[in-house]
Symmetry: C2
Subunit: 543 residues, 2 copies
């Protein structure tokens, strides 16, 4: 009984402590924090161990489903986190981690995030966010301006209007895409006569009322998987996301798009939205947005641009023309946590028409009352953190010309990497970079010569073997932990549209040097030699 | 030309600096960070000014939609943020901010969030999260265990299984509720014979195949607005969320629920899900979950519990019985950023059946490949931050008994506040706390006596006047900025179910003292006196 009381008292005391007093700077946590503030890259280098532990081994450290019955000291817990979590996490900001779109972060982000977390605002309503609400509206305005370039009067009229919104801030691009298509669906199937609209009556009644056979979402076969997810969630069905073939530059074939629209119209299938991709996930290419806009116009359907990754290119005056036509889109998705160097959790969808969001408006008694400026009345999410502050600060501290430099340098670095891959005897460049993304594979000169004979049957088996080799190299490289490229499977027109497995590289980290890129090719050559099965077989075939 | 070059060089230099070197500890940002680390409450007290600025005034500071053409120094920007943003934000962690569910944060959260942000993992896939993936799976396991209390063998089998998941980590409760109902919809309208399932073919074909007249979601009239939002998004329609009346304790009337189910069955309307509420947003009450489970069982429909707010009560052995029956739910929503004292952005949905998530599985070529343990294959969101780490750390550092203390004390504090409101001549307690939430209003003794006469006609106009007075007091109190309660409009059975406007109080902050609560009543009495119109009219009427 006495022991129970003692434990209770100790717990009580520790509770009071953790809500009032911070860690002393000389505690483990305080020390680590300081170390991190002073040199994030150094801290990560020291603590993220390039361990070859398999995931199944790591899982052994995270196996207990019981909630602890005893409080742990903060310092002890911190040691545990360092050993078991940090040491085995991924060094996403490493200059040789060039496989995904997760960005390195500018150093000012860390203290600002701490401020954001400490303020713990909830953006769903003004009562828990106050100045954060106009700040988020301004960020949406700036991003709207980046896409649509309206004059100051436009933003004066709409940016802070209670009944309007220039977009919605989201946790990421998937929620942004869902939100855009949700708006498109609700606008298309709006109230009409006795019918009270899809939002109120549901999709099957809407379809009955409007008499469509089906709805369709059209996007190139390079569209992101979140579009199928959106179609599933919104009740439209994944199969109604229709993949339009791409040309040899991975851009949508506009003739085929137009033909498909006509064909669907003849079948009484209504095109809900055409989605243009500005920066495909797998090859980094940009659809001809201006031509898509025309086709969308002709077919009177919503035109959405998924610029989750490539949208930041608009900040570069030099490369902005690649996205020509984006200003005709009804909605645009841009992820700030990709090429805008903001931490994970910052996506946006921007709407051309400030009244669009009325299609998805929701109200409640305790918040989001009509006429309020609460942002939560037109977001998919409810409670949300003040991430918009980090976008706001980045736009001010880096500024447009700063972003332009980051973007231009990334593209030029990708061009350099493409050049050295192309010149290298043992590598085959698969897709040239249009933005800072490219794909390639390891393929010895003799094997490339074999492929060049265009013998379909032979190429099939060579490509299959090359695929196995690519997988082998990529996996080993990832496990070694010094550098990282990702891999994917894409259709390659020079092989008759056959799907081949390739390395995929995203060169967004400003600290990645030419030497690092050269080193990555060297490392991959070495790893290829270690493949005891695939490489010898390939070389044999190419003899 | 020379100037342009100089600007370019300066920008280049500053870019390199911001990606490599952190702020010196004696810079503005460094100083503020240190101040914040050492005493968060003090920092917030010093910097969040109780300004009476109206929102429209604050908006003037956030009016420019142009993206800056010149980079700003980090220190300058920090001063700007302090003046314009921090000073005008809401002191959510103040012990006298008792109006919403946004929590005060334990001090260890700040340095840990910085670590989380610095690591910038992306939980969509193992390749960008590594140990964070098993960590998140463990957190889902612990929360599953909290609800369902299975044995260790169960968690050994399912917690880290690639084809299964015990839940989905989300940005918040709304996404959690949508996910739960998405699973329910896709399981109900699954593939069957020639029909390939709602996920692939869409909702209107599913309805045609299964021949239902409509779908319905049943929840008490205290259900959260996110359920209507979910029904809209999922294509079910807001009007098909059917509100079942509550009893005088704001709990669903189970007889009426059962009757409605029968009535709907007779109309060929399929009940997709019954939703039990564990902690209503407006009154904090818990539905009789065990009885709802029985009805759901009889009607063979999905039973979801929205415990976004009240779910943390399961951590208290003393109050856990209030949620009896939750272990029969097919899915449960719990927000860690509410009563688990984790910062904004941490919601969870837990599934009883580890195979449930297969109903919403998505794959892609570059990630989420079949058989991978990538968490993104069954979450609504795509890229996501490592917020699960903060839940993990809180569960370890605070531990279950620590949470129990926090929860028990909060409930007992609410009971104390209810008592002093009840004893006070000039206040009327509207709803007693079951958890740490209660509602009340200012109503002078004589006015309460008038209401007690039960003259419907008179009460209507008195309640309307009291509503205006409540709004007046709440608004003034919020603007004065020393303390904050929220307000809502709820049906009150003692006034024949009339909707009245009330103050709403959530007592989750462990630093809120009895003295603060007494002070809030005092402040409200004073503010009432300042109402030059409503109070005199009320007193006149009560004469």
């Amino acid at each position: 009984m006495k022991a129970t009381k003692r434990i209770a008292e100790a717990t009580q005391e520790s509770l009071h402590r953790i809500f009032t007093i911070a860690e002393a700077p000389d505690s483990t946590l305080g020390r680590l924090e300081q170390e991190m503030s002073q040199n994030l890259v150094g801290f990560l280098n020291n603590h993220i161990v390039a361990s070859k532990n398999a995931l199944t081994d790591i899982e052994q450290d995270f196996i207990n489903a019981r909630i602890p019955e005893q409080p742990e000291f903060v310092s002890d817990h911190m040691h545990h986190l360092l050993d078991k979590l940090v040491a085995q996490s991924v060094h996403t900001s490493s200059p040789s981690f060039i496989g995904h779109m997760t960005s390195a972060l500018p150093s000012f982000i860390l203290p600002l995030s701490k401020l954001m977390v400490g303020l713990n605002q909830n953006l769903v309503k003004v009562e828990t966010s106050k100045a954060f609400t106009p700040l988020e509206r301004q960020v949406l305005g700036m991003m709207h301006n980046l896409v649509y370039q309206h004059d100051d009067v436009f933003y004066k009229n709409w940016m802070h209007s209670a009944e309007h919104s220039l977009g919605a801030f989201c946790s990421g691009g998937t929620v942004a895409n869902i939100t855009a298509l949700w708006v498109a669906r609700n606008k298309l199937l709006k109230a009409d006569g006795d019918f009270r609209g899809v939002a109120r009556e549901g999709l099957h009644r809407a379809m009955r009322h409007y008499g469509y056979q089906d709805l369709a979402i059209l996007v190139s076969d390079r569209g992101h998987y979140s579009l199928k997810k959106s179609a599933d969630i919104l009740g439209i069905g994944q199969e109604n996301v229709i993949a339009i073939p791409t040309d040899e530059h991975n851009k949508i074939d506009c003739q085929k798009l137009a033909d498909k629209c006509q064909q669907l119209a003849a079948q009484n299938i209504k095109v809900l939205a055409i989605v243009g991709v500005a920066g495909t996930t797998e090859t980094g290419n940009i659809d001809p947005l201006d031509k898509i806009a025309e086709i969308a116009q002709q077919n009177q359907c919503h035109f959405h641009v998924d610029a989750a990754w490539g949208g930041a290119t608009l900040l570069s005056n030099k490369y902005r023309p690649l996205l020509k036509g984006i200003e005709q889109a009804d909605s645009v998705t841009i992820d700030a946590h990709k090429q805008m160097y903001v931490p994970m959790g910052a996506g946006l969808v921007i709407f051309k028409d400030p009244a669009s969001v009325s299609a998805i408006e929701h109200h409640a008694e305790y918040i989001l009352r009509k006429g309020s400026k609460d942002l939560g009345s037109h977001t998919l999410e409810g409670s949300r953190p003040g991430m918009a502050m980090l976008v706001y600060s980045s736009l001010h501290i880096i500024s447009r010309p700063g972003y332009e430099m980051l973007i231009n340098q990334a593209i030029e670095k990708a061009e350099y990497f493409a050049d050295i891959i192309h010149q290298h005897d043992d590598f085959e460049l698969i897709t040239r970079p249009e933005l800072c993304l490219l794909t390639y594979r390891y393929a010895p000169k003799s094997v490339q010569a074999l492929l060049a004979r265009n013998d379909d049957e032979a190429n099939k088996s060579v490509n299959m073997l090359l695929g196995k080799l690519t997988k082998f190299i990529q996996k080993r490289q990832r496990e070694d932990g010094r550098s990282f490229v990702s891999r994917t499977r894409i259709e390659v027109s020079r092989y008759g549209g056959e799907k081949v497995i390739v390395f995929r590289v995203v060169l967004a980290n400003p600290l990645t040097t030419k030497e690092i890129l050269q080193g990555i090719l060297q490392e991959q050559c070495q790893l290829a030699q270690e493949s005891e099965q695939f490489l010898p077989e390939l070389l044999q075939a190419a003899k």
